[in-house]
Symmetry: C2
Subunit: 336 residues, 2 copies
């Protein structure tokens, strides 16, 4: 049966608060550059006190991916929990305005909408501090069966392992997807996230609860506790049906069975902000898969989307990725 | 007596919601490109529905000016009314994080913090739709006498004529400033604002309630109801002690008595977003005045600040204007 959605993504619904910062601020506050850490409300207030002037933009890893999928002209849906506050209104507006189907019931009278305070250093690296707030309330009840059944790929973020109820939501979504002949993808999200949940992530892969795994080089190395990328990638290939690994300025590789593709990164003019790079790679790659493009073509679409997002502040495309692909001569075609 | 602040600005405290839009959206919704219009809550909701994905950044004309003054390393203060909501928290954080003194008591339990939905067309022009919200509550009680007395220049936006209580606040501030030997400046804000309040603006100037007047070419022409810029500028010079008129890509002119200076605009690479251009010109110009620079040097500082802000999305400087001035070889010196 033809699917209503190419990609459904599920994750923590977050508004980003982005500010440029010098490296010494990262060091002085005991933060680890490039990583995501979870913070409570008190630490969020403390951190906000010393942050410089900021801008706000809708974020959330897999929500950014849904926005990217829609920007390619593909059909995207999203499930994630916001509150009924001003940040929740921003989040809901932006994802819908991008053309993403988003109908998750907001949390009323509980914690506020999640925010992520992102410190961007002069090298474009981002250090993320997430207050999960309303995301903690995402549960099985939020997984709409019809939406999951209607999506060719259901994409889940590893970050969902942090709010306790969300694991059940993740497993429910994966079961519905597979029962309907759909694919299930996961991103490992962050190497610290991998450290927290290594055993469970491996179980998800080895039990074939997930089919497609997205990771960057530090995440895949963290997963297999090795400093050697080739060793880690070989292990990942054995543990899942399809693996896609991003390698920063070295591009990306994708592997499925004996089929392997390695593609270079797109050249950029000025690196502004790495926020959303992995999210947009996943968007392009999955759009390629749903169009039955080759692994190399799909990875190229991913690199194209990543190159766009790192050249401006904020985690979502600032131009049409569909137009960008067309300008590169990449024909997207129609859904498989 | 030496002053604590170089510039105090008073105005509508607003969070901007900025989105790129095609020209036909402006036309289809009956908006007038380049202008600011006031909208109610229902129209704000309607407009937000059809806006594309947006980013949020603290704004408010004279608050942007205060941020610019602080970015030059000069001492700035701000008075304006937000609510105790998330947008109010953003506004308060950003202006204080820029180094601006801001202590106005927020509105509790009333209208939400003001927002301005800004549609940016491909030519960089911005069309603004303002929901005043909590700004309507700014009153005489918010004018802190000590702060006004301590500021070399008190700068007021013409937009303050829209919320009814704010006029009294404006007049009170001007009286305190003059009683303490300080200067009072006004920006005419917008040609539609001039149309609404022409008589009162002229009275403020002719009664010497204000000393320094900022306007762009369309505002000064609107004020004197003439299509001829030279006629309008001549009339403005007769009506105030010091006039500063911005001319877009033709730069700016400043005139005081028989002293006139005309300076060119700074070259830019790519025009992104005109939001904040006039606000930042005023910041640079007033910093120059407080450093006893010449009219030409002060106008040059204004053009430098305006050129920075139009090359990125958002109404406030994204880099240090002090560093930018130093790179241009402009020595700011110490307060007069």
């Amino acid at each position: 049966m033809a699917k209503t959605f190419d990609v459904l993504t599920i994750g923590n619904a977050i508004v980003d608060i982005l500010s440029r910062t010098e490296d010494d601020v990262i060091v002085r506050n005991g933060l680890t550059k490039g990583m995501m850490r979870l913070i409570d409300a008190a630490e969020a207030d403390r951190l906000y006190e010393f942050m410089g002037p900021a801008v706000e933009a809708s974020g959330g890893s897999s929500a950014n991916t849904a926005a990217g999928v829609a920007s390619f002209g593909a059909r995207a849906a999203y499930i994630g929990k916001v509150a009924t506050d001003q940040f929740g209104a921003i989040f809901r507006h932006d994802i819908r305005a991008q053309g993403v189907h988003f109908e998750t019931t907001p949390l009323i009278g509980g914690a506020p909408t999640a925010r992520c305070m992102i410190l961007i250093t002069p090298d474009g690296e981002r250090t993320m501090n997430t207050f999960l707030g309303a995301c903690q309330a995402l549960s099985e009840a939020d997984i709409d069966e019809a939406t999951v059944a209607a999506a060719a790929i259901t994409y889940l973020e590893g970050y969902l392992w942090d709010p306790p109820e969300a694991k059940q939501a993740f497993r429910k979504a994966a079961a519905i997807a597979h029962a309907n002949g759909n694919k299930v993808a996961i991103t490992l999200s962050d190497s610290f996230c991998v450290d927290r949940w290594r055993g469970e992530f491996l179980e998800l892969m080895r039990s074939r609860t997930v089919d497609i795994v997205f990771a960057n080089d530090s995440e895949v190395k963290a997963l297999y506790e090795t400093g050697d990328l080739d060793t880690a990638v070989a292990a990942l290939r054995a543990d899942c049906e399809l693996a896609a690994v991003t390698l920063g300025e070295d591009g990306a590789l994708a592997a499925s069975g004996s089929d392997v593709a390695k593609v270079p990164a797109f050249p950029i003019e000025v690196l502004q902000d790495l926020t959303g790079a992995g999210d947009q790679f996943a968007a392009g790659f999955m759009v390629g898969l749903t169009r039955r493009l080759s692994l190399a073509e799909s990875a190229t679409l991913g690199c194209l989307a990543a190159a766009e997002v790192i050249q401006h502040i904020g985690p979502r495309p600032s131009v049409s990725l569909k137009d960008l692909a067309a300008a590169e001569g990449i024909e997207l075609g129609v859904p498989a």
